[in-house]
Amino acid sequence: MADTGAGDEQLKVTVEFGGGLDMFVKKERLQMVDGAKKAIVRMARQTGGKGTTIRRLIEHIGEDYLKASTDLFCTGSTLRPGILVIINDADWEITDDGMDKYDYKLQDEDEIVFVSTLHGG
């Protein structure tokens, strides 16, 4: 429990911000990966409770990755409606009935994409 630290205790996921969301992300947090700007996010692996959920990832991004206006991305761990989440090329709303999509348990090397639908036309 309460595992923090380096190596195997850390979970690594790749996060992309699409549809104009990259504007809200601190420049130094983004790097070019396979021709697209992405953030490599390392988080302490939570072994107890629900594990390291995407809820925790959203909070983490809100705390550490965004420029000033975080509410354009999330409020606490709640994502702003109108932002799509694509986990390994699948819509996060595909979860089993009765399961909260925020409880999705992150796996090492997951590719997460946040895409805003709110910009431009």
Partner: protein, 376 residues
């Protein structure tokens, strides 16, 4: 937890469709999305074989998906349409110049001819200069009024039969709500129609009217379509912003809310007692108008005279309150009269049907023979 597609029962489901709640795989999603747009087109008889169709293209997600799907369906179902990309350059540096680069790439990717008409060319004023003159408060009024006309002007230059725009289900639901909230009953009646007569020149329709924004974005993402997504540099429409956020909040709780609002809007009938504006044509440029001078000409007049609030405010008191600035910016481009644009379009049509080539034009201004179609 991988689960199977509700349609083919084979591949892994990758999207939950907001309209139906179905979980479907990538290929079934593409098919369903495209087929629904096809059904919208066929059920509403949007086009006739041989039609020249302009796709209003901004480089954003909606018009990019529309262009891609129109091209796909035209080939798959042999509609026999001639497709064009028609873009408006409002003259907003750092925004439209970049998005037009996207449209140019789309032109090459999809092999569709592209026509760009600019405010600068049509009216003598770019939005950057208009904002310099009017500030950031009312500039969206100018942009909206000028865009409506610019699309018609571009369509006549290409001699199009019809324009399609990328308005999606979320946009339509949002507009219905806004018109209710503003008590704008004439617009409420019109905003749910899939095809409008446009402004008397070229009909317009919205093939993506029943397509959810979520699906449009997923489609663009999964097809790796090249689109541009930056907010306009100038102040966004705050009222629309609230309506949009409200719709998204509703959708999060109940995904069918968007299509339900559209159905409600379609079912509403405007009572016969509601006064509808009477249409006439503008005495200056010939555009359809409910006044002697159309809104665009009134706005241009205000700009030229250095009193840009003229034509923006509804009450004359507001207009009087604006200090007249000496000189104005005085670009003085008289918009080409719509009758001339129409004659030119007819000449182009006759030529396509085997007639003589219309007179070439090498002189802008008073000696121009092409209604600004080529010489500008």
């Amino acid at each position: 937890m991988p689960r199977q597609c509700d349609i083919c029962q084979g591949a892994r489901a990758i999207i939950r469709r907001p309209k139906t709640g179905q979980r479907v795989c990538k290929e079934c999603f593409f098919r369903a999305f495209e087929t629904e747009v096809h059904n919208t087109i066929v059920d509403n008889a949007l086009f006739r074989r041989g039609d020249r169709i302009g796709i209003g293209a901004s480089g954003g997600k909606d018009s990019t998906v529309l262009a891609y799907v129109m091209k796909t369906l035209n080939e798959r179902y042999d509609y026999g349409l001639e497709l064009f990309l028609l873009s408006i350059d409002e003259g907003i540096s750092g925004y439209r110049d970049d998005s037009l680069e996207t449209v140019k790439r789309n032109r090459d990717q999809y092999g569709l001819p592209l026509k760009i008409v600019s405010y600068e060319q049509l009216y003598g004023w770019s939005m950057d200069r208009i904002v310099e003159a009017v500030g950031r408060k009312n500039n969206c009024t100018f942009c909206g009024v000028f865009r409506r006309q610019a699309l018609d002007r571009g369509a006549l230059m290409l001699d199009l039969d019809h324009i399609v725009t990328g308005h999606n289900a979320d946009d339509v639901a949002e507009t219905i709500l806004m018109n209710i909230l503003r008590g704008d009953i004439p617009r409420l009646g019109r905003c749910t129609e899939i095809t409008t007569a446009g402004d008397g020149y070229i009909g317009r329709s919205k093939p993506l009217k029943y397509a959810y924004e979520k699906e449009i974005v997923m489609y663009a993402y999964l097809k790796r379509l090249d689109y541009f997504s930056t907010e306009c540099t100038y102040s966004p429409n705050a009222y629309r912003g609230y309506a949009r956020q409200f719709i998204k909040d509703l959708e999060a709780v109940r995904p069918s809310a968007i299509i339900d609002i559209i159905h409600s809007g379609e079912a509403m009938k405007v009572a016969s007692g509601v006064a509808m504006p009477v249409a006439t044509t503008c005495g200056r440029c010939g555009y359809i108008s409910s006044n002697a001078i159309c809104k665009a000409c009134a706005l241009l007049d205000g700009l030229e005279r250095g009193i840009p609030k003229l034509g923006v405010s509804r009450s004359s008191r507001d207009a009087d309150g604006a200090p007249a600035r000496a000189g104005g910016a005085g670009a003085a481009v008289e918009p080409v009269h719509f009758e001339r644009l129409r004659e030119r379009a007819l000449a182009l049509r006759r030529q396509r049907l085997g007639g003589a080539e219309p007179e070439p034009c090498d002189a802008a201004g008073a000696a121009c023979r092409c209604a600004g179609t080529e010489c500008q």
